[in-house]
């Protein structure tokens, strides 16, 4: 916990990020308690500017916008989190299998991964979305997870390949430990930092895909998704072309931008939290390793600068 504060305080932007993400998580969890009913239609309150009563103004049907944003957070975050979990799960499994189960499995899985990587993921998701249908959130998350596992599987595979060459894995194998034991106890802990960081990255990807599908209007509308609001704002309601309706357009945009910003800034925090090497370095100097020492004693190159020498 203390390291967490330490990491947070190093850059002010990180605090902003954590606050943003927590705000949206709060909305997702407590939104339906704060606003138990869908906002009501008021035909004579169309496109009201922000006021105490309507903090973000009202939409084309005179509905209060703020509850729509707050209620939308649950759907967006739930599906995105689920999709990110699926992505990371598939990526890790395929990467582990390719890296650990020998060359035949490896080449088959990697050919497949390469193929998925060449297909533009959004296009594939679109086609899957309308052929399979997006009847419920879990299926939707499953389809979205098709977008990002390829790169992850490749990275995990190459990491497994290098880890299994290291002595501690060979020792475990030599001692007759089972495959599962070696994978769970020796290899996975070493991959964990990468997996956690990638979980955050997958989250931004999933938010992009999910809200995008609603924005294009290819999946059945859910009343409270920011993508649906954006779709109505740019399309059906004509809000896009009137400066009066600014709030209806800008609210979902702001929500998406702030959420993505929050996730990205938190990725930075998580990155440093799980990778101890990024902490406690004095200007990148580490006191072990002969070559490093050598380099500092000869001089450090800085682009366009002078050669500085520490031994004179």
């Amino acid at each position: 916990m203390r390291t967490f504060w330490h990491i947070l305080r190093k850059r002010k932007m990180r605090i902003v990020g954590v606050v943003l993400l927590l705000m949206f998580v709060f909305m997702a969890i407590f939104g339906p308690i704060i606003y138990p009913h869908q906002p009501a239609i008021h035909p004579n309150e169309i496109y009201l500017p922000p006021s105490w009563h309507h903090l973000l103004g009202t939409d084309y049907a005179g509905r209060n916008i703020l509850p729509q944003i707050v209620l939308g957070a649950r759907n967006v975050l739930f599906v995105a989190a689920l999709a990110a979990l699926f992505t990371v799960g598939i990526g890790t499994l395929i990467g582990l299998a390719a890296g650990y189960l020998g060359p035949i499995v490896d080449s088959i899985l990697m050919r497949f991964t390469d193929m998925v990587l060449t297909i533009p993921s959004i296009v594939l998701i679109l086609i899957l979305a309308i052929t399979i249908g997006m009847s419920n959130d879990v299926i939707m998350a499953g389809i979205l997870s098709f977008a990002g596992w390829g790169g992850m599987a490749r990275a995990i595979r190459s990491m497994v390949l290098s880890i299994r060459e290291r002595s501690f894995v060979e020792v475990s194998q030599g001692l007759g430990m089972s495959r599962t034991y070696v994978i769970v106890k020796e290899i996975l802990p070493n991959l964990l930092p990468y997996i956690v960081v990638h979980l955050m990255l997958a989250l931004t990807g999933a938010v992009y895909g999910e809200v995008g599908l609603f924005f294009l209007g290819v999946v059945p509308f859910k009343a409270d998704n920011w993508g649906v609001m954006l779709n109505f704002a740019t399309g059906g309601s004509g809000a896009m072309y009137s400066t009066r309706s600014l709030m209806f357009l800008i609210s979902p945009i702001l929500a998406i931008v702030l959420l993505q910003t929050g996730i990205v800034l938190c990725t930075d925090v998580v990155n440093e939290l799980v990778d101890p090497r990024l902490r406690n370095t004095v200007g990148g100097y580490q006191a072990n390793g002969r070559r490093r020492q050598r380099r500092t004693s000869v001089g450090r190159i800085s682009v366009g600068g002078r050669v500085r020498s520490s031994s004179n």
């Binding site: 004095v282 006191a287 050598r294 002078r306």
Partner: protein, 260 residues
């Protein structure tokens, strides 16, 4: 290095420094394999150096070809090759040839042979020795392997934790080492003939340069350390001609006078 002749390197502009480097002082790096730009042919890298030091292309190519011959390199092949097409020993010799390209008066060699196998080591050293005589230049070897270079060098300066601990003509230092560190170094070299069990390693780990021990930096590992070593750092004491010197309390009287 701070001074070269009268010139303080720290007071120079980038272009003054740039002129001094390679025209007066050249360097051969420890991992010479990695000191060539991987994307350019050797010929192009020579031309780059020539152009930035205002030397005629043709002249540079001619001296490069000559140097290749001295280095026992097939100049046609090597000059048209990319670095990854050459072996480690060849790249090492190429980088030595590059160092000699502008006829510098001083060449610094940072562990020039550690990355090579024994046979290449011997040939590189022999070449260096020949070049030193024929081109009339000074060499500074930086190495931890005294035995390899003792054939070539005139003087040895032994350094520990960034400071000179002993200096002198090569015969004196090797036959009569005075500083305990030098003695330890020489004792750790396995003899070609004779009893291997006499070979010893120094105890302990090299000093942490960020947290140097108080007093003499070597005292924690020194077999002959006494109380004074823990309290003050020894100064380098030299003989009358400045030819030999040692920085060790064992050779200094209490008043700090020279007892050599």
């Amino acid at each position: 290095m701070r001074y070269f002749g009268q010139d303080n390197l720290y007071d120079m502009s980038y272009d003054q420094q740039r002129r001094l480097f390679w025209e007066k002082v050249a360097m051969v790096f420890q991992a010479a394999q990695n000191t060539l730009n991987p994307l350019l042919r050797i010929r192009q890298q020579i031309l780059d150096i020539a152009q930035d030091h205002d030397i005629d292309f043709q002249q540079a190519m001619n001296s490069a070809k000559q140097l290749c011959e001295i280095m026992y390199l097939d100049s046609e092949r090597v000059l048209n090759a990319y670095p990854h097409e050459l072996s480690g020993g060849m790249k090492q010799r190429v980088s030595i040839a590059l160092a000699l390209l502008l006829n510098p008066s001083l060449v610094v060699l940072d562990e020039p042979t550690t990355a090579l196998d024994v046979i290449s080591q011997a040939s590189v050293l022999r070449i260096l020795n020949d070049v030193r005589k024929s081109h009339n230049l000074s060499l500074i070897f930086i190495t931890h392997d005294i035995s390899v270079i003792s054939e070539i060098v005139d003087r040895i300066i032994v350094m520990y934790a960034g400071r000179i601990v002993e200096t002198g003509p090569v015969r004196d230092v090797i036959l009569h080492p005075r500083h305990p560190y030098t003695q330890g170094l020489l004792a750790s070299i396995p003899p070609l003939r004779g009893n291997l069990s006499r070979t010893r390693a120094l105890r302990g780990q090299p000093a942490d340069l960020l947290h140097l021990p108080h007093g003499c930096a070597f005292h924690e590992r020194c077999p002959r350390a006494f109380s004074r070593c823990r309290q003050e750092a020894p100064r380098l004491l030299t003989d009358d001609h400045g030819q030999t010197g040692v920085a060790c309390h064992l050779y200094a009287s209490d008043s700090g006078e020279n007892v050599l």
